[in-house]
Each structure stands twice: as structure tokens, then as C-alpha cells.
């Protein structure tokens, strides 16, 4: 069995059990798990178990982990979490085994995830549009440039997630 589905279960004091089928999002920046769920709109109408581990000890300090049972999320759908968790890995689990393991990729565009910081941007009005950003990396920093007003967000992206 691949360790991605088990590593934190094997530590002293079992916290979250391995899942049989579904998706494990591992190596989320510590403290960002709830924001990851928010971006993915989980649990929403989804009825299966979603387990969240926050500040779990790991080789590189602390991390968060999210386990979603009985649902294989599409990698493309998950790429948008790279905005707040650029080192996250996505593990698709079948029969307790890791079928696929991918690192999230920074998408070229994100839509409906982040709110523009410019209060005078047309995307912050009652118009029937959702926020859209072009995403690019510069000096290892993720930048979001609003498609409409071109304002750039490069810090504290999690603070600007769209809340419904």
C-alpha cells in the first residue's frame, strides 16, 4: 500500500483511517485545509465522509490533509487550490491503493474563486459576471491579474477567496 494514503495513520495515535476509494489531498499548507474545501465547494451536497486533518506533523514541518471518500476529483478541478496550496498533491485512491498521484499545477486562468481587491472593478458590481484572473508566477510568488481591471493580487490570496 502506498504511503500517501497511510502515512499519518501509522504515526502513534491513529487520527484518520485510510480510505478505500476517493481522493486524498496531501501536503496542503498548514492551516489552509478549510480554504481548500471552500474552493472545492465541499462538502456541499456531497454525502460521503470528508476528513480534514489540520497541522499534522510531517517531514517538512506541519501540513494539512483532506480525504474525500468515494469521489475521484478531476485534477483540473483541483488545480485551482494551487493558489493557496502550491505544494499539494492529489492522490486518487482505489481499493486502498494510490492509483494516481499528481502535484497540483498552477492554472492559467481561474474563474469564480477569488474576489478582485479593487472595489471599483466591474466584477465587484451587480453585473452578471464572475471574477476571472490570469495566473502567473514571478520570483516564486503566485500573482493573479484581474481580467477586467488588471489589478494584481500577489499576497494573502486566501484572504480574497469569494464567499457566497
Amino acid at each position: 500500500m502506498n504511503s500517501e494514503n497511510t502515512d499519518f495513520e501509522l504515526e502513534p495515535g491513529l487520527r484518520v483511517r485510510p480510505i478505500e476509494n476517493g481522493t486524498v489531498i496531501d501536503h496542503i499548507n498548514a492551516g489552509q485545509a478549510l480554504n481548500v474545501l471552500h474552493i472545492l465547494k465541499l462538502p456541499g451536497q456531497f454525502e460521503s465522509v470528508v476528513s480534514v486533518l489540520i497541522n499534522s506533523p510531517s517531514k517538512y514541518g506541519k501540513k494539512d490533509v483532506v480525504k474525500i471518500e468515494n469521489r475521484e476529483l478531476k485534477v483540473k478541478e483541483l488545480d485551482k487550490i494551487s493558489l493557496i496550496a502550491p505544494s499539494a498533491t492529489i492522490n486518487i485512491i482505489r481499493d486502498f491503493k494510490v492509483l494516481k498521484k499528481n502535484r497540483v499545477k498552477i492554472p492559467e486562468y481561474v474563474e469564480g474563486v477569488v474576489q478582485c481587491v479593487n472595489p471599483n472593478c466591474i466584477s465587484n458590481s451587480s453585473e452578471p459576471i464572475t471574477s476571472k484572473f490570469r495566473v502567473y508566477e514571478e520570483d516564486n510568488i503566485i500573482n493573479l491579474r484581474c481580467i477586467y481591471c488588471e489589478r494584481i493580487i500577489s499576497e494573502d490570496i486566501a484572504d480574497h477567496l469569494l464567499r457566497e
Partner: protein, 308 residues
């Protein structure tokens, strides 16, 4: 070059070749703009003019441009008298108006409004200013003025005034980068051009100098572009007066300028330029306002297929 049905939203969407083509087209249309020739190039076409903010020059020069080319103008009138007052979204207004007109000219207080409008319109949208955002037709007419009254390639230009908030000035600088311009920025401490923009311009091979002395800058340049300093940027009215008077253009100041220096200003001016300068050979700002007509004629002709 194919401009038909293209939206005109931001100078960033234009290559040097595209800018040159627009300016060359404007030059061809200038005899029509001054009534030396007549044209019905856009006969049967309708231009919708949607201005959600007050404007004199931009609005009237677009209307004149369309009329000079034989087209018709459809105006929304004041916002208070339109369905916007009833709470209609801009998206709905655009969806309706695009079925009445062949091109829409839009000025709106929200940044990004023109880009959004282009998503809802089957006909070209021309951005005539979106809040503190883009105003590409102003930049194009500024470039045209420099081309006609001075020279574009390698022009030595000083930009004076509020260089921090004036995005028209930023947009002009980016456009001038295509022409290898040598730029001197003249502004008081609190109104300097943002560092990222200067860095960006230098990365594009431009020479950029900064100073707070207009006397020093004026001796070396071919063009002086003056912008308005807004009183509200200064918490202390005395400080505003001090800064505004230190950058005022007077006939005495111009004694040290090159004889071919041209002074530009997007207008309206308040007291940045002494009216005594108006009658000197340096004054170019009223001509600049006129050049808005041939440049907008060129854009209308190109996006509506009157010319290629």
C-alpha cells in the same frame, strides 16, 4: 491588417504595427476631418454612444468622427433618463444596444467595464474610458499628435504632473516604448510614477529619468506632456498650491526650451499652463484635441469595415 469587428479596449492589445496602421489611417482621413474632402464611407452605419460619465471632448469628437464619415449617431442621453436609472445592468444595456448599432462607444466609471461589455456584444465596443482604467483612444490621439507635430521615433519627451494616478500617462509611456522614446518624468514626491512601471519601461529598453525640476527638464526635450494635478490628492491646500505653481508652464520658463518644443495637455487644464503660452509656437494642446477626430475616424472606419 484586419481590424473589422475588433473591440478597442486597451493599448496592451495593440502591436507597434497595429498602432502605426491606425495612425496612418488617421492621416489619410485628416482631409475629411477638416472638411477639405467629404465622405460617406460609413453611410447607413449607426454608432451608439453610451456615456455613463460626463465628457466633452471624447464624446463630441467620436460623434463628429462618425458624422464626418457619413454615419449616424445614436446617443443614450443622460443616465438619469435611461433604464439604468431603473437599475438595469450594463450587461443588459449592452445586449440591447448592440442590436440597434454597428459599434458601441462606452465610457463607464467602473474599471473593466468595456472589457465586460465586449463579452456581451456582437458588435465592436470601443473603450472611451473606464474609471481609472484604460482610455486607449486618448493614447492613440496623443501618439498621433506627437507624430504630426514632432516625431515619434526616438522622441525626447517630458511628462509632468500627476504621474502616480494618471493611467493615461502610464498607457502613453507603454505605447512610447514601441518607439524608443527617451522619457523624463517630472513630478513632486508624492505623485511619482509607480516603481513597477518604471522598471517595466526600462526592461523594454526605454531611457527613463526622474526629476522634480521642470526648468531642468524643459531644456532638453522635443515634447512636454503636462497633466492636471488634482487638488484632492493633497490633504494640505497650501502644499497643493506650492506643487502646482512649481510645475506651472509660463512664457518665462519656455525661454530655455528648444525652439521646436511642443506642449501637450489632455485638457481640461486648470492652471497648469499659463494662457499666455497659448499663442506661442509651443502650444499644441488645442490641436491635440482636434486630432481626436481623425484618430477616432480611423478607428470607426477600421472596426466597421469602411477601410482595411
Amino acid at each position: 491588417m484586419y481590424f473589422k469587428d475588433m473591440h478597442i479596449l486597451s493599448m496592451k492589445d495593440f502591436s507597434k504595427e497595429m498602432i502605426d496602421h491606425i495612425l496612418e489611417t488617421a492621416e489619410k482621413l485628416e482631409p475629411i476631418a477638416v472638411m477639405k474632402e467629404r465622405s460617406d464611407m460609413l453611410a447607413g452605419k449607426v454608432l451608439a454612444v453610451l456615456f455613463f460619465e460626463p465628457s466633452t471632448r471624447t464624446r463630441m469628437s467620436f460623434e463628429t468622427a462618425m458624422l464626418r464619415l457619413g454615419g449616424a449617431v445614436l446617443s443614450m442621453g443622460s443616465v438619469d433618463a435611461s433604464s439604468i436609472a431603473k437599475g438595469e445592468t450594463l450587461a443588459d444595456t449592452i445586449r440591447v444596444v448592440q442590436s440597434y448599432a454597428d459599434t458601441i462607444v462606452l465610457r463607464h466609471p467602473k474599471e473593466g467595464a468595456a472589457r465586460m461589455a465586449s463579452e456581451f456584444s456582437q458588435v465592436p465596443v470601443i473603450n472611451a474610458g473606464d474609471g481609472a482604467g484604460h482610455h486607449p483612444t486618448q493614447t492613440l490621439l496623443d501618439l498621433y499628435t506627437i507624430k504630426r507635430e514632432s516625431k515619434l521615433e526616438g522622441v525626447r519627451i517630458a511628462l509632468a504632473g500627476d504621474l502616480k494616478y494618471g493611467r493615461t500617462v502610464h498607457s502613453l509611456c507603454y505605447a512610447l516604448a514601441h518607439y524608443g522614446a527617451d522619457i523624463t518624468l517630472v513630478s513632486p514626491d508624492g505623485l511619482r510614477m509607480p516603481y513597477e512601471i518604471i522598471k517595466d519601461l526600462e526592461a523594454r529598453g526605454m531611457k527613463v529619468r526622474q526629476t522634480d525640476s521642470i526648468d531642468e527638464a524643459i531644456t532638453e526635450v522635443d515634447v512636454l506632456y503636462v497633466t492636471r494635478i488634482q487638488k484632492e490628492r493633497f490633504p494640505d491646500p497650501a502644499e497643493y498650491l506650492r506643487v502646482a505653481s512649481s510645475l506651472q508652464i509660463t512664457p518665462e520658463l519656455l525661454e530655455n526650451a528648444k525652439s521646436h518644443l511642443k506642449i501637450m495637455h489632455p485638457l481640461p487644464r486648470v492652471n497648469e499652463i499659463d494662457p499666455l503660452v497659448d499663442n506661442t509656437s509651443h502650444a499644441c494642446y488645442f490641436k491635440q484635441a482636434f486630432y481626436g477626430v481623425p484618430v477616432r475616424m480611423a478607428l470607426l472606419a477600421l472596426v466597421m469595415g469602411g477601410m482595411e
